[in-house]
């Protein structure tokens, strides 16, 4: 009798372990994408359209990655689930809009819809968003850390900051949507094999990749980058090792915020600017971060690409409005089977 029970326990244990393995999660995600593809094909959607969606999914994944990398670093290094991250992206988009209003309107660059001034605005807005994040940290999170507040209080303060940032955006720019450029519709061009994308989207993808490479170099090659990874690994050990955690925190906000700002600008360029745009991205961002393991910047990139692709491809047969809902489904799958994410160690979180 007890023999039977223990065998069954072992079997359950084994099934659990297999389901919770990295391979199983990746297989599950692959299965999801294939299933979506088949579903779309069954509805008679041409392969070219799906390929175009795939390319756009990679681009959207690039935008999400810009937000998710910073979110993951802040989560890992500071232990703050930064619910204001989406609104920091929004702030980036609007700060760039502000910068544009001071700059002369230049001719469009090549096939793109924007002129050099958007690049200037990008360079201006990114550090400002980083500074915004660091300022909030100095005013709010630092005190909470000093009071040894539990993580949920940090999360709530982040939520409060999110609404504070958004209220400022509403006050300065109103609730209506705006565009960086009006009347400059640029037609989609054919890339190859019938895949059609807009030139701006290629630019967005290129820029996102360039920034991700920069982040990679920073994290792998610079002392501060390594210290950030070390702090994300084990903040207590980082402290006793003599790592200056205050400056690690400062750089984490500056980099995380700067990337979020860039992501917001890219998202605004691809669609339009709205005060709620970042809030809507929050769920996909967290899904990407948890999928790729909290604190792991490369995991966040992988997670963001998966979410971006699934989101876009799902629009072939699903109301596009449900994009964030698709991200939610992935989030729940990850939480069910492997809450530590693709790159996490079992038992760890």
């Amino acid at each position: 009798m007890s023999q039977v029970v223990s065998t069954r326990m072992r079997l359950e244990e084994r099934v659990k372990r297999v389901l919770g393995s990295r391979g199983a999660l990746i297989a599950l995600l692959a299965l999801l994408i294939v299933a979506m593809w088949l579903l779309a094909a069954a509805q008679g959607i041409p392969g070219q359209r799906l390929l175009s969606l795939l390319v756009r999914g990679v681009m959207l994944g690039g935008i999400l990655a810009l937000g998710a990398i910073g979110l993951s670093l802040i989560f890992g290094v500071l232990r703050i689930p930064n619910f204001a991250h989406g609104d920091m992206m929004t702030a980036g988009a609007y700060l760039a809009l502000l910068a544009l209003s001071f700059l002369p309107l230049g001719a469009p660059l090549g096939p793109f819809s924007f002129g050099y001034e958007l690049l200037v605005a990008l360079v201006v807005a990114m550090p400002l968003v980083g500074l915004l994040g660091y300022t909030v940290d100095r005013l709010v999170f630092r005190r909470l850390r000093a009071q040894r507040s539990p993580p949920v209080i940090m999360a709530m303060a982040a939520l409060g900051s999110a609404f504070l940032v958004r209220s400022l955006i509403y006050l300065f720019w109103g609730a209506d949507f705006v565009f960086y450029y009006t009347g400059r519709a640029r037609p989609a061009i054919e890339l190859f094999a019938g895949i059609r994308v807009r030139p701006d989207q290629l630019f967005i993808l290129g820029l996102a990749l360039a920034m991700i490479v920069l982040v990679y170099l920073l994290l792998e090659r610079t002392k501060m980058g390594k210290a950030m990874r070390a702090t994300a690994d084990n903040p207590e050990l980082a402290r006793v090792t003599g790592i200056d955690t205050e400056s690690v925190i400062r750089w984490t906000w500056l980099i995380g915020g700067g990337l979020a700002g860039a992501g917001g600008i890219m998202y605004g360029l691809d669609a339009q600017l709205r005060p709620e745009m970042g809030w809507w991205l929050l769920l996909p961002l967290f899904a990407a971060v948890i999928l790729g393991t909290i604190g792991n910047a490369y995991g966040a990139l992988v997670g963001a690409l998966v979410i971006g692709i699934v989101w876009q491809v799902s629009t072939a047969f699903l109301n596009p409005a449900y994009g964030p809902g698709v991200a939610f489904v992935i989030l729940i799958l990850v939480l069910l089977f492997r809450p530590q994410g693709i790159f996490g160690r079992p038992g760890g979180s």
Binding site: P81, F83, V140, R143, L144, Q147, S149, P151, V152, I153, A155, M156, A157, L159, G160, S161, F163, L164, R166, S167, L168, Y170, L171, G174, A175, W279, W280, L282, L283, F286, A287, I290, N319, A321, Y322, P324, G325, A327, F328, L331, I332, L335, L336, P339, S349
Partner: protein
């Protein structure tokens, strides 16, 4: 004294008598407290109805209705966060599911020309209380589905998952026309006991009772509805006060304080968390139903994260989490700040216009800023809220426990 004044004051006396009874000195015997409290409450109600101008009174009554609805939802959140420490930032999901469920249960599907404008999955034409019950059940089921996979994980995962469910629920009610009229408002949600204020009367009530309410005109309906919402607040409050002093309540607080110290195994902790999450959601769903029947027409935009989640958090944090009285007070104070700030912003219009011509139209967002700042200040300087957690007197040992 006209009849209508009398009836209004009687309806208003329901919440006031309850408040007065609770305010009576503890050393009086319970029966005396009840008699004195009811008397004082009714006198206060009479004074209000007689002395306050009708227009202002109408405003105060509708203010109190919304305050009561928020109070119910804040009580639900208190079960989750205050007692058990569950961080739910998707209140909107349970609020909305409750509202739409009750609406679907109590309306009848449109026929004829109206069917072209309103679509709904079903309409049962059920009574109000059935709708409320269904709202609670639906929200509770949703909570069980979300809580199952997430409650056994880290606290912050629940927060993220609840954001997700709130967004998903909002998207569904925004996009699925067949379900509850998609992006268009879902109209015609019946008002309970509205027959009291109509000439035809309520056929199911005994004649003497009907006669008592005969002086009421349709514009007096808010008094009736205030009585209804006040009863819901009172019942919810009393039930929760009982529950929190029961062994179950102690279990929840043990879970919140430190799971390991609670000398129980992981399964018990998980079950207690799920129970608290579901019970809280049921109460939120009931709050949603109360909201739907008050508004008569609802749509997805009523359940955005600001009005349906964030503001409720500020209410609970202000009142003091873990304190039912605080949750109710917090709901009324914040709702008062919110509506009062609207007047302040209105008064500031000329100043705002001087700064920028566009600013007066955006004035309402100053309120959002105010509320967000308020939350941050509470977290920084008064993390236990204005009142703080009640200390409980254990019924069995007489000892005070934290």
């Amino acid at each position: 004294m006209s009849d209508v004044v009398l009836v209004r004051s009687l309806l208003l006396a329901i919440p006031l008598a309850f408040l007065a009874t609770r305010a009576m000195p503890r050393r009086l015997p319970p029966a005396a407290r009840l008699v004195l409290g009811v008397g004082a409450g009714w006198l206060a109600a009479l004074a209000l109805v007689l002395l306050v101008p009708v227009g202002i009174m109408a405003y105060l009554v509708s203010f109190a209705i919304v305050g009561s609805i928020y109070a119910v939802i804040a009580l639900g959140l208190n079960v989750q966060w205050g007692y058990t420490g569950l961080f739910n930032i998707g209140i909107a999901a349970f609020f909305a599911v409750g509202a739409f469920t009750s609406a679907l249960f109590t309306t009848t599907p449109p026929t004829g020309a109206a069917a072209a404008f309103t679509q709904q999955a079903f309409g049962l034409g059920a009574p109000f209380l059935v709708g409320v019950l269904a709202a609670g059940v639906a929200a509770g089921v949703l909570a069980a589905v979300v809580g199952g996979p997430t409650l056994r994980l880290r606290d912050d995962y629940l927060a993220i998952a609840t954001i997700g469910i709130a967004e998903l629920v909002r998207l569904i009610f925004q996009n699925e026309r067949w379900l509850a009229n998609g992006p268009q408002p879902f109209r015609g949600i019946p008002q309970p006991l509205s027959c009291l204020v109509r000439d035809a009367g309520c056929p199911y009530l005994p004649a003497p009772l009907m006669e008592l309410f005969a002086p009421l005109a349709p514009r007096d309906y808010t008094y009736v509805y205030l009585a209804i919402t006040a009863l819901f607040v009172i019942v919810t409050f009393l039930v929760l006060e009982r529950a929190i002093r029961s062994p179950w309540g102690r279990l929840l607080r043990a879970v919140r304080e430190e799971e390991d110290a609670a000398a129980m195994n992981g399964k018990d902790v998980a079950r207690a968390k799920l129970q608290a999450f579901v019970v809280g959601a049921v109460i939120m769903g009931i709050g949603g139903a109360l909201y739907a029947h008050y508004m008569v027409a609802i749509d997805y935009s009523h359940f955005d994260p600001l009005y349906a989640t964030f503001i409720i958090w500020v209410m609970l944090m202000l009142g003091g989490s873990g304190n039912n009285r605080g949750a109710i007070i917090g709901a009324f104070v914040i709702w008062g700040v919110w509506t009062g700030a609207a007047f302040a912003v209105d008064a500031l219009r000329p100043v705002l216009a001087a700064i920028s011509p566009e600013l007066p139209a955006r004035g309402p967002y100053l309120r959002l800023m105010l509320i967000a700042l308020l939350l941050i200040f509470i977290l920084l300087f008064r993390p236990k809220g204005l009142i703080g957690e009640e200390r409980f007197v254990s019924r069995h040992t007489g000892e005070r426990e934290a």
